[in-house]
Assembly symmetry: C2
Homo-oligomer: 247 residues x 2
DNA sequence: CGCGTCGTTGAAAGGATTCAACTTGAGTGG
DNA sequence: CCACTCAAGTTGAATCCTTTCAACGACGCG
């Protein structure tokens, strides 16, 4: 809300802090590649910010869709439910990533988005995003790239689920997390998992016991050190080799 | 190319026949929801049509991306290759569906698209599509829906690969094909598979023998009649029940 | 008509799941 | 501050489903 009249410096600072133009995630997020002037126009659009407490839903499958969401801080999972009760985690999302793209198709969300830790999101009204992206070519193009990237990511998961064995899946999962933490300035070798073994298993198409066994195996082999949710990667190449070693 | 000067009636007819405005797939394809005038502007953009022979590539992973493709007739598969030689079919596409959306992300195609029968496609230069969709709101919105639908579809496949057993996967696959054939005016109960057991298996994360066994099982149970690639669905509800019967 | 690709089927092997017991850790309340 | 409780995680043994290996049958193309 840069249009708000600054009453005093403190308020001004608060306002600035929550705008895209001053968000340190902007190069990972929707504003990528925009000029300063374009950035300010995007700021106008992102008026709603929300805190989501750990365990709460950002949205639920079936709800009407009207916004996509950028994660400002925190960690989410998305999952789909089948009528017969089976469910599957379709992804884990972290700061700078977008949630809700699945809802554009039918104007209703098709999955649940749940915070795995206390989080903060920026709501982006979709019709306004469309209208702004008709004016800002870079925004339009970048948004298309983001959607396309999601499709490519999904293909990667399909590959993982379709062709990999349990340990390969977990290795791929850890390497992917590590790489995404790195891109956000965190350690590539040491991090806390925000999700349970069961959620990892659901995402990887495995039972929680299988995930647990694979963690133990990796530890025995010296690839990682695990202590509950705390992970240290000791041998990245070992994990990479594990993923690629079979014809 | 409605702007082409009609030299005689025969040429005119040919031209008309290959435009979106006269394509009977337009309600399934990109032109959905456009007015006549908008349709004609879209026609201008889709100047290139290509025949792809069975077994030929429409594009390959790694090639520079510049167009997306609408299938006018025929049948395709897309697949991804891992460095270690493993590959996976990520989808089967039929008339009216779009190919190449994965390429927007990196400006390079990330999968291979291969014709499973002699096919015909319309190439849609992507930068021109973006610029036209800045002018035609309906086109922009529908394109976003199509991309989103692809994401939702991928989630469905992840669900299938992550939580279903072999026979459930095949049942889901057959029901999905049946439904898509129906939407195109073909029989919902009788069709020819364009792909081999191995390709089905790759898509479903199963070995070809497992697919074959599941087909035989369905036949024994009286759900379908199989003769090589010819399928007749005898009991849709049986197949549906098979998909949903476990908690 | 022969050869190769595709499909089917059987038997054995292997990997993930299931069931179950036990451990660890975080949070609550006396 | 510690005992209690419950959720999350680990590990073992048996089971089950899919894969692997192998042989054979069917179809289509040159």
């Amino acid at each position: 809300m840069p249009s708000t009249i600054p009453l005093n410096q403190e308020i001004t600072l608060t306002v600035i802090k929550t705008a895209c133009s001053n968000c340190n995630l902007r190069e990972l997020c929707l504003p990528f590649g925009l000029s300063l002037e374009e950035l300010e126009r995007l700021d106008d659009l992102i008026s709603t910010r929300r805190r989501i407490k750990r365990g709460d839903h950002l949205y639920r499958a079936g709800e009407a869709f009207d916004s996509i969401y950028a994660i400002r801080s925190g960690f989410f999972k998305t999952d789909v439910l089948l009528e017969d009760g089976r469910d599957q985690v379709t992804g884990f999302q972290m700061a700078g990533e977008l949630l809700g793209l699945d809802g554009i198709s039918t104007e209703h969300h098709t999955c649940n988005a749940i915070a795995l830790e206390d989080s903060e999101i920026c709501a982006i009204p979709f019709n306004r995003l469309e209208s702004l992206s008709r004016e800002i070519h870079n925004l339009q193009h970048h948004f298309h790239k983001v959607m396309s990237r999601e499709i490519v990511r999904d293909h990667g998961v399909m590959m993982l689920l379709g062709t990999m064995r349990a340990e390969e899946r977990l290795a791929a999962f850890l390497l992917n997390l590590s790489q995404r933490f790195t891109a956000r300035g965190f350690s590539h070798a040491e991090f806390y998992l925000r999700m349970t073994r069961e959620e990892i298993g659901s995402y990887l198409g495995l039972k929680l016991e299988t995930v647990s066994r694979a963690f133990s195996k990796f530890q025995e082999e010296g690839y990682i050190a695990v202590q509950q949710k705390h992970i240290r990667i000791l041998n990245v190449n070992g994990l990479k080799a594990l993923m690629n070693h079979r014809a």
